[in-house]
């Protein structure tokens, strides 16, 4: 048999082992995918390594101690954990009802012409960076809260509650909660919309056929079906809220206090790291900040993982569209 090439210049004799361009390309792709795992490993490793000194110095008591004193080199995480949890909780309490309501409005009620513009506006809201919300917060929101909303609240019956006592500075836990709420509204709205859209029309039609009003259809057929998914959206929003740094730092007051009042200034894990990292002058100081970062990472990871699990089982796919 003669051995002439199919294509005059191409070599027809290629054995599997020597086809290196294909194999190198494949390894490049595998390498890139592995970089993700490597990066996660790096993050975990560096945080643990940096936090090691503080972890051995303070032990688990670090998490419950309220003492944060760079002068005596004693540190405790509780004010920041409290601040992070409370401000995020406030954000959720404000953002979830608003976000779900808006999602309902968009999927169940809004006329088609109105839908796309509103969705676009919400996407634009998502595009505003944290620092710009912070800027707006410092100069617009905080003065307004200090001079108007907080005054109004403390003079009303709400002022008898422990949540609304104490001096009013404007910068406060509530201010932090409000800005974070604004920032997580887009993701809660968009995820809720997807959940609501996945409710089969049959459910709605069945309710209508029973003579239910529009709102009753929503309540009976849509919300109850989508309840678990919406809860997942809320948890996802919580995960986002926990990690917010700049806007919170600029409006929360940055005082490591634990107070029941929402008017009081607070401090979050992310904010204290942002503010004090470059000025930390002792190894223990820096290590404590690392430990705070580790706590933040672990909490955020757990919350996000929980949200992903909840949402994945419902929509049957990863939340790839959620950025």
């Amino acid at each position: 048999m003669s051995q002439s090439a199919i294509l005059p210049e191409a070599t027809p004799l290629i054995t599997a082992t020597s086809h290196w361009p294909d194999r190198s390309f494949r390894w490049l792709a595998i390498g890139a995918a592995c970089m993700i795992l490597i990066l996660i490993g790096l993050v975990g490793w560096q945080l643990s390594r940096g936090a090691h000194l503080a972890m051995t110095a303070f032990g688990p008591g670090f998490l419950t101690s309220s003492k944060w004193d760079p002068v005596t080199d004693e540190y405790g995480a509780w004010p920041f954990i409290y601040g992070t949890l409370l401000s995020s909780l406030l954000a959720i309490v404000i953002a979830v009802p608003l976000g779900v309501a808006t999602a309902l409005f968009l999927t169940e009620m809004a006329p088609l012409r109105l839908r796309q513009p509103i969705v676009t506006l919400i996407e634009m809201l998502a595009a505003v960076p944290s620092v710009i919300f912070g800027l707006w917060g410092i100069f617009m929101l905080v003065p307004w809260l200090r001079d108007h909303l907080f005054q109004w609240i403390s003079h009303s019956w709400l002022g008898y509650l422990p949540f609304f006592k104490g001096p009013i500075y404007g910068v406060s836990m509530l201010a932090g909660g409000i800005v974070v709420a604004i920032m997580i509204l887009p993701i809660i709205t968009s995820v809720s919309r997807e959940i609501l859209r996945s409710v089969p029309n049959l459910q709605r039609e069945a309710a209508y056929a029973l003579g239910a009003t529009h709102w009753e259809v929503i309540r009976i057929a849509v919300l109850s079906y989508a309840g678990r998914g919406i809860f997942g959206a809320a948890v996802l929003g919580l995960g986002r809220a926990l990690g917010e740094t700049m806007a919170v730092t600029m409006v929360i007051g940055n005082r490591p206090e634990v107070s029941a009042s929402l008017f009081a200034p607070g401090y979050t894990l992310a904010s204290v790291i942002a503010n004090e990292f470059t000025e930390a002058n002792s190894d223990l100081y820096i290590s404590s900040l690392f430990e705070l970062g580790l706590v933040l990472l672990v909490v955020t990871f757990l919350v996000n993982a929980a949200a992903q699990l909840m949402l994945r089982t419902l929509t049957g796919q990863g939340m790839g569209k959620i950025k």
Partner: protein
Amino acid sequence: MTAATDTFEPSRAHQTWRRWKSRGMSVLLGVCAVAVISPLFLVLYFLVSKGASALDWNFFTQLPKPTGELGGGMANAIVGTLMLLGMAAVVGVPIGVMGGVYLAEYGSDRANYWIRFAADVLNGIPSIVWGVVVWALLVVPFKTFSAYAGGAALGFMMIPLIMRTTEEVLVLVPQSYREAGLALGIARWKIITVIVIKTALKGIITGILIATARIAGETAPLLFTALGNNFWNHNLSEPIAALPLQIYNYAISPYDDWHRQAWAGALVLMGMILTLNIIVRVISRGHNKSN
């Protein structure tokens, strides 16, 4: 012989109540939607009204003046942000796109599940944590804050975003194109690059632009990596100014003039981000039209 309980006639009043309740809820939902989009208008309004007045030629061309002195601009911050975005792209785009290629073309279902999970984890890492980690990785060993570190931090944040968007568009390319390529005896990697990626190129670029718009406004990762610089950066292994950093520092300062400039900087930053978003929309619309 029908008992009174066999038929149920709802009262007129109850029906009316149900109807009004439904209408009331509709209005409430609409109000909520308005409440949700109003912060956008509030922020934009203040950005424009406070920022536009401070924007002048000086702002774009001059360096910041020393503390307390009036005037000056954010020229170095604007250029710095652009440079950091470029460096971030150098890190984020190749790894992100190739990662997406892996997920779409090579990965098994099991491997993909875990890689996607890992990408979501990476996505959820708070930006301040990235700042701390990259500080430990790239600032401490070299004993200097640097533009490299800032670019790397931003680049790492881009990777999971670009990976997901790339995977999404690659998967949309019909399998028959790959088969046609294979049937012609073309090498696999050439099929992926010349045929599949080229077909999905608009989507990939869109994903990159979206990721860029996301990280353009990030401040936290830069706080301890790029650090900020009041002068021009001449060497990438030195600190570099960035718009978000400058805005932050000016905003929390006690000087009115700096506050004014912070608004101007915010307006410029928002303008950059909006421009990227508009470009994305234009590209996507063109893409849809041609199909």
